[in-house]
Symmetry: none
Subunit: 181 residues, 2 copies
């Protein structure tokens, strides 16, 4: 029930005059906002459901009052989004070439070299290079294992709701977002 306070309090506390936000703080903000988005979404759905039921029961309380959707939409477009690195065409080619030439993951030194070279073709960091090789290798492997038979499907979840009974650890203290109406 005090989820709101918890969610927006911190934001103000760091917003000291003359100070600036770090990327981490910004990321945190983004997440906090995301939480609000989720909560609002649920509440709206909830409200609709209730209204629907209510409508068939009694015509009362057609509480229009608040234009939720417009409110939500009004704020949707300036916030959040930390863009992720996207390799340029040139960079991608080079990376792809290196991947098939060199075997294994480049070590730190090699990463530095590669990054240096690639930085001539666009913004890039050593972490980007590192991640790229990690992902490239992992996904290549996955494709092979899984690939033999059928189509070329994505790596993603495959949505088959196989009822696994494992589903471990329930959050014991996740009372933060629960509304005990």
């Amino acid at each position: 029930s005090h989820a709101f306070a918890a969610a927006h309090q911190p934001v103000c506390s760091i917003a000291l005059p003359g100070q600036v936000m770090t990327d981490e703080q910004l990321e945190t903000l983004r997440r906090q906002i995301s939480v609000y988005a989720t909560i609002c979404q649920q509440l709206v759905e909830m409200h609709k459901a209730i209204m629907a039921q209510q409508g068939s029961a009694s015509g009362l309380w057609l509480g229009p009052s608040i234009p939720f959707d417009s409110s939500l939409h009004s704020m949707g477009h300036k916030l959040t989004s930390r863009q992720r690195w996207t390799p340029s065409q040139t960079q991608l080619h080079i990376l792809e070439r290196l991947f098939e030439q060199e075997s294994g993951t480049p070590n730190k030194q090699r990463i530095k070299e590669i990054t240096l070279e690639l930085s001539q073709h666009g913004q890039i960091s050593e972490t980007n290079v590192y991640n790229w090789f990690q992902n490239r290798r992992a996904r290549t492997k996955r494709k092979q294992q899984l690939g033999g038979a059928n189509n070329g499907d994505s790596e993603l979840d495959t949505d088959v709701d196989i009822p696994e009974e494992k589903k471990g650890k329930i959050e014991a203290d996740s009372t933060s977002y629960t509304f005990d109406a």
Copy 2:
């Protein structure tokens, strides 16, 4: 599947790495968050009112009875999954705090203590704690080595003194965003 996520697009495309926010941008953030806070407040009030009214009107309608979960499916599918340990927010905070206080990897005894404490905030094992410290340290170090260049950052979220809220993803088995009326 990330339908609503699309609603709150760019938080701040100006937030390039190494850059900081202007007061103006920060003010915008605050305002936008404020909108969410307001909307949530209103919705909750409405909900309470409706529930109260419903309750006195007919003895029916006790309990959820409406699958609000349906709204959850729009954001994170798959109630299954999660085979690996995921620290709860509380646990994470504690771990983070311990990490900066204590020096070096906790010994066996310390691990046991920590595990015991953390187990009050969710499922956890000594191995989890051990791994967490290992990883935390390793990644902190590696970040220093790699982080030098350009866009350099990612891997490891440096902590901010903001009690961060759970990420915007809905997990059936972790943070509960469900409204159990």
